[in-house]
Symmetry: D2
């Protein structure tokens, strides 16, 4: 459904005008398909400006595609991927990771979506035992599914731990822009420089129409990815129209402007919600998500006017996502609605 503003997910937003303009501009004449074109070349150059020259980048269609194929490239089917219990790869990809990689996902319980080497250590006891899938990847989400953000130090610690156990660090960066904006660090500082081996770099949730990228920082982990992408049904024929989106995204800090805005809207939303009796913010608001616990009786009423997701658990928690084009007045409207319902 079209709605004035949705708080369900940042993918309910549309295409940022600068992105759409780039698509329009690229629609001139014929162009070799599958990425051998100057638009793609230019986009790849942009990526190297942001992430350094030592990367390999590949464009795909979806976040699930980026995660699954990125992990596929660094695993064998008898290995396992350690992830958070609430991670997108564990909950929201319909077993695509298991199906396409053959690997087991081993889920770690977390309070705030983040986990540490301490959580992983006990899972490594099976190393070398042929009866057990062999731990090979630590997969984290940045920003997490709970709107929290790993610090650079936490990332380095996890990466060092992974590498010291002959494992890779994979990052689901569907909202990496929001994390970088939150930390005030560059994209590179919280990915390759922190030791991330493979990154799913998100575009769609932050203003693109369609497009995610898989970035390999560890050249050894790349492993003929172009074949994996094609076999994974993620190779676009009219590639230029994905490439120019990314070029625009990485030009004039569009990625950052969008993320800063979305994060700011989340902070504003949280600040207003905190003032409402009966609303409890349950997670640190570090990116563009706000989680609030609120009595069940209110939820139905609020849902009649605004869209958002209800999070599972004992007490009802609702997730409110902001995006690059959430407006301040949308926040105020939502707050008014909640206030009225709670206070009535």
């Amino acid at each position: 459904m079209i709605v004035k503003t949705s708080f369900v997910s940042d993918n309910n937003s549309g295409i940022h005008p600068e992105i759409l303009h780039a698509i329009e501009k690229a629609n001139q004449g014929h162009c070799i398909a599958y990425g051998e074109d100057p638009f793609t070349e230019a986009a790849l150059k942009k990526f190297k400006e942001h992430f350094g020259d030592n990367i390999d980048v590949y464009f795909v269609f979806t976040g699930t595609g980026a995660n699954v194929l990125g992990i596929r490239a660094i695993t064998q089917s008898f290995e396992s991927v350690i992830c958070s219990e609430i991670s997108h790869i564990n909950l929201d990809e319909c077993a695509a990771p298991e199906n396409f990689t053959g690997c087991k996902l081993v889920a770690v319980k977390t309070d705030d979506g983040k986990f540490s080497p301490e959580d992983v250590k006990p899972l490594l006891a099976v190393k070398g035992d042929e009866h057990s899938a062999q731990p090979k990847v630590i997969s984290i989400t940045q920003a997490t599914e709970l709107g929290t953000v790993y610090t650079q130090r936490e990332l380095i610690t996890l990466a060092n731990f992974a590498h010291s156990h002959d494992m890779f660090l994979h990052m689901d960066g569907a909202r990496i822009s929001n994390a970088a904006a939150s930390l005030g660090l560059s994209l590179r500082e919280i990915t390759g420089d922190a030791g991330v081996d493979v990154l799913s770099f998100g575009g769609t949730k932050n203003g693109m129409m369609i497009g995610e990228a898989v970035i390999f920082f560890n050249k050894k982990s790349k492993n003929k990815f172009k074949f994996i992408r094609k076999q994974g049904m993620q190779l676009a024929s009219k590639m230029r129209f994905i490439s120019v989106q990314f070029e625009a995204f990485l030009t004039n800090d569009l990625w950052l402007r969008n993320a800063l805005h979305a994060n700011r809207m989340a902070k504003l939303l949280a600040a207003e919600l905190e003032k409402i009796p009966g609303c409890t913010i349950t997670q640190k608001v570090e990116a563009n998500a706000v989680f609030i616990a609120i009595a069940h009786k209110y939820i139905d009423k609020i849902q009649k006017e605004f869209f958002f997701n209800i999070w599972e658990g004992q007490q009802p928690v609702i997730r409110l996502m902001t995006s690059f084009n959430t407006k301040e007045e949308d926040i105020q409207d939502l707050i008014q609605v909640i206030k009225k319902i709670v206070e009535s």
Copy 2:
């Protein structure tokens, strides 16, 4: 590379203006993701106008995705798919069909890309033998990879044969529009009405930016496809921007106008080529492809000015594809170049 006009493939063309306009128009406000939006509803309605009410339609990103997931939906891993040796699923999908369905592809030799029940019959001897993958799908391409077109009668014969042996008829319709335009029949007459069970309906090669559809005519064969699509990494979050492309594509006969033009350009090209000594048209020109045998010494020279594909085989054959925006003067330019080279 950007080129004035490419004859490599119809996917070297860009986005038709009516399609791009539809994308622009849909970029208003927020909208529920994953297809629960009014744009998608409208597009599905258009599909039913063209194919009848008894279909199920799902949008995916690529032709490979459409073929693989469509076949996945109607097979079990111990079954086999009978296809032409030069079919896209056999040659150009990097073993994605085998990898994602687990099935064997059994390839049939053909002269013109088309095959008949006679070619399939000997392959059915293994039915019931647990040592052999069990024939379950006949997969054909319409128009074929050689630019030929199955008649409606040929399709009905194949479909009846498949069904009488408890098999499905799958059609790779990456260029189904060109086939319908060629035959002067509706889309429905050469698919569902002819007995096709599952159709990969092509959009990208005929003027869309990104987008293919999987259509199930046989409701029994559908089999919970929404899960297969998600697991197959082919579910778009900002679905509206694929849906509106399809809506425009199926409105005011855009699909047909584009296909008729491309076919006409191919006929024109063939007519001109026939006049050039040393050029032999090797396949009937029934859709938007022209295959010519030409001495090897000429090919390199022509390639310096125009892009196209060289087809394997004893004598060199080159494939020239036309598209919705191939211009008459491009044809004339190409003809002049070839003439000059051959006559020099």
Copy 3:
């Protein structure tokens, strides 16, 4: 290593003499391969005597093979299997279930290896959501990996629950004989009659050389299993030598005699261990496993004389398995060793 008696696992035992004798007797002349022989026919008949006429039975090589292929037969790749966190399919099959079925395994925490509908209910909230693997199978182990046994009532409750949610009940019966012996019920009463849809019927751990069976009680769930077995690399060419083992196993209650003995040895062992200060039995001894918590300092010393497995966890727990040919004096020897070490 060959050892006088091992308490590591019941598969450290050898071949029961009646089984070996059957193999010897079958080694006469030539015989059609792959199961079209009179030995296999006779074995299948034995199975029907025990489990009823309405079953389909297939022989495979290993417990992992039986579990994986049995589950494969009743699932599609986008579905999930709910199992105990410590189940064999989750911990000890090197991700074979994920790899061969494509499904996700969803693990449930348990205290004693058994779980109930209450544990499964919250996991069904994702039904119908295309982003989530769809719950389709409840897989339990009988006797469990912790040596406990589901009562017939508990089984019926689980089966009814599964069926009422359009799911199947799969049972890993690697030690189904020990469970039946423990409950004093027939094999049929705790499998098909209780509502089990697919059973991995264990032979190897209870006196056979090589051989497990997959039994389908729900004919609808069978689904062309002979092809799945062949594709799963579990079809024996000289099938008669597996069949005759099963025939002997199911004749004159050999399965029951063996299981009763193993169970009795476990009870004896537990009774003796309880008398030793510092040894705590941590699980009910209902089949042929004894779990004891014991101070870490003792474990190394005991291991110098007897083989067994150390179970993970906070306080060290060791698992002692008895088998069809564990002797009373082996128990006494082990007890003496432990006593001496603990008391020194």
Copy 4:
């Protein structure tokens, strides 16, 4: 069915007495499972005596298991395996290779089951093209499915060719013993020494009860095979009973004695058949198979008295397999039957 002597396949034979005796002898006491036992150690030593110290050997249950897992160990899912059109992996493994490796099988037509680099060369044109599965393995069968045998020179030529194109040479050696016996060469001379990278070493067809081995000559190709075997459901718990079969098989040339006998019986059979008018030997008799073309009207009658396979094709061809325990009088009986029918 039990029959006096079958000519259907060498797997219709039983267990050689020396093999059965070895199983009986190993059935003493308890023994660590999964291959960490002295029987397995001894068997591995025997393999090294025959194949050299630089090998890795793993035991599995079936020829299909050996082929599929051996190929799995040296491929990625986007690669292809080039094999003969009539090879076991292409025709008789129910798409297990495709399903478990994800790879495409590319079949080469042959007259006599053997192929050469000339047949493979045209298939390498796709190297580097992301749309095509990448050729990585040449898989041959020795002795072939048509009873012919590659010479050592032919093997070396194929191996050199494979390696010079960054490919592996895989050999399905279900009847490798018959090939070595035929050539008068050691097992090593026609495998590792000739450049074979991975060998499926057959035991079952030549007198064992159950057991095949996967041998890696190229250590780089091994790639953590123990996990692949476990995930491939081919790890035996009571491994000792497979190991001792192999030990006996490789002791006192049992493998060779059996193979020489079977080959001799085939020669005898062929010599007698040649004398019968209307019988034409269609393939060189180099191992233990005899193929004869014979009028259709005779086949039914012969089948009433002896079992064998009818081979597909234009004119009816029947395959007669001999084995380690085919007796001369069985041959004479068969010849008499055929003679009588043909001459009546």
